[in-house]
Symmetry: C2
Subunit: 248 residues, 2 copies
DNA sequence: GCAAAAGTGTTGTCCTTACACCCATGC
DNA sequence: GCATGGGTGTAAGGACAACACTTTTGC
């Protein structure tokens, strides 16, 4: 049973209806909220994440996610898109809410609750809006020395991505519009940390029948050029299978 | 580019380190935060969700999730467990964060951001702590007239559950410790909204080899009693398969 | 002509599905 | 003895894993 007497739902008598919701809400404790974007990119066969140097002296030299404070009347997703757009100049980017982190001690300046978003983009489709020279792509495999609980946040988003990429066609957000099957396979191998059989990988994607053959080939490669494909998002949306299989 | 001049990370010059994080955090806008628990139970072959009458006059007569305000120094998960424990008396209950909802207009008393948790429990393992007579189990299929955005929250948690139950042994949280295969199948059918072949369903679960045969039988059933099983969580934890299969 | 990667098929195994009959119990 | 659900097996088809050689291009 509750022992304090603040005006929380569990403390109030249930039989009296509250007529002044504004008064009620004003009585609640309030917390600063931020959104943090875990922005993944793919380059040189490595999965990368976009980080910036922390601007807190407390975390001097440590790396931090791109985030910003939620504004008074801004939707959560809008705040995340705003951060993305301001940093990368891109507006049509994959973005999804992953998890909210609210440990009371995660911020040295007081309690701040952050909503983590995961974002995937093609590194070569945009120029970073670098306001200073401290914005960089980092290999996901060697992260350390991060500010706040950002290492934990990246790890959870990375796990989320590993699972998600197997069930949804997210990978294509990380590649150029036209890509070779080798690039696609490299991407899956990098994200999942496994080696895949080339023949079976191709068979699987051709069997899905969501790849459009561009009848074009790679250029400037020091070996036989591979064919280029696009992912047929329209067809995928119409045909996506109703997922069902008990399996654990 | 930002046009206002509040002290958000995107507006500050990046070259100056901030020495007083507390001052910084205090300058951020702050929002009341609640946790809302979508508590699922299973009874009479129907998936149910635990709801209470809203205590806001604004939502008079409408149903609402069980929630409470986040306390100043309380971890998010702790707040959710507190709500669960206060309502159901149960402490060892499955609980997981699902998603954060923060539409600026979701609460009539001002902006309140809520973190939705999903919880699964065996209805018959506890007595509801009913402080008044307005706490009830509702069939998930016929929800309407809910307060706030709670209908949306329930829908998202239900979808989350449908997916999750196929990949993780969550179902056993909704059943008595000892259950028959029929009960298990009924549960899957109710949650997923499909009909399953009885023989194949049994084969699948026996093949997993995570069921412990209790050598006991149902009682007081008007037909041949079925065998009772327990789920072997220990064995599952040791053997759980590394999930990998591109499939979308 | 050599290095490097593209491209291609088959086979065996396993998993999934579809499907029908007898059995044990309560009434 | 009848109604109700418990319990079981098989066959066919589809998906997946393992595996090696030829082709094309750049240099």
């Amino acid at each position: 049973m509750n022992t304090d007497d603040t005006l929380t739902p569990l403390n109030r008598s249930r039989s009296i209806l509250i007529a002044e919701p504004t008064k009620l809400v004003t009585s609640y404790p309030a917390f600063p909220i931020t959104v943090d974007c875990v922005i993944f990119g793919f380059e040189e066969n490595e999965l990368k994440v976009l980080l910036i140097r922390s601007d807190l002296q407390y975390f001097e030299g440590k790396w931090s996610l791109l985030g910003d404070v939620l504004k008074e009347t801004e939707a959560l997703d809008d705040a995340a898109y705003r951060v993305l757009c301001q940093r990368t100049g891109m507006t049509d980017v994959f973005l999804e809410q992953v998890k909210t982190f609210g440990s009371p001690s995660r911020h040295p300046g007081g309690r701040v609750i952050t909503i983590a978003y995961c974002s995937l983009l093609n590194i070569h489709h945009h120029e970073l809006k670098i306001y200073d020279n401290e914005l960089h792509w980092h290999n996901v495999k060697n992260l350390s020395d991060m500010a706040f609980d950002h290492q934990l946040i990246v790890e959870e988003c990375y796990q989320w991505l590993q699972k998600r990429i197997q069930e949804h066609p997210l990978a294509f957000n990380l590649l150029p519009e036209k890509f070779s099957l080798r690039e696609l396979q490299n991407l899956y191998e990098a994200i999942l940390g496994v080696e895949l059989d080339r023949r079976n990988f191709r068979k699987k994607f051709f069997a899905m029948d969501f790849l459009i053959d561009m009848e074009e080939f790679e250029e400037n490669v020091p070996h036989r050029p591979g064919k280029l494909y696009k992912f047929n998002f329209d067809k995928y949306e119409k045909n996506k299978r109703k997922w069902f299989a008990i399996d654990f």
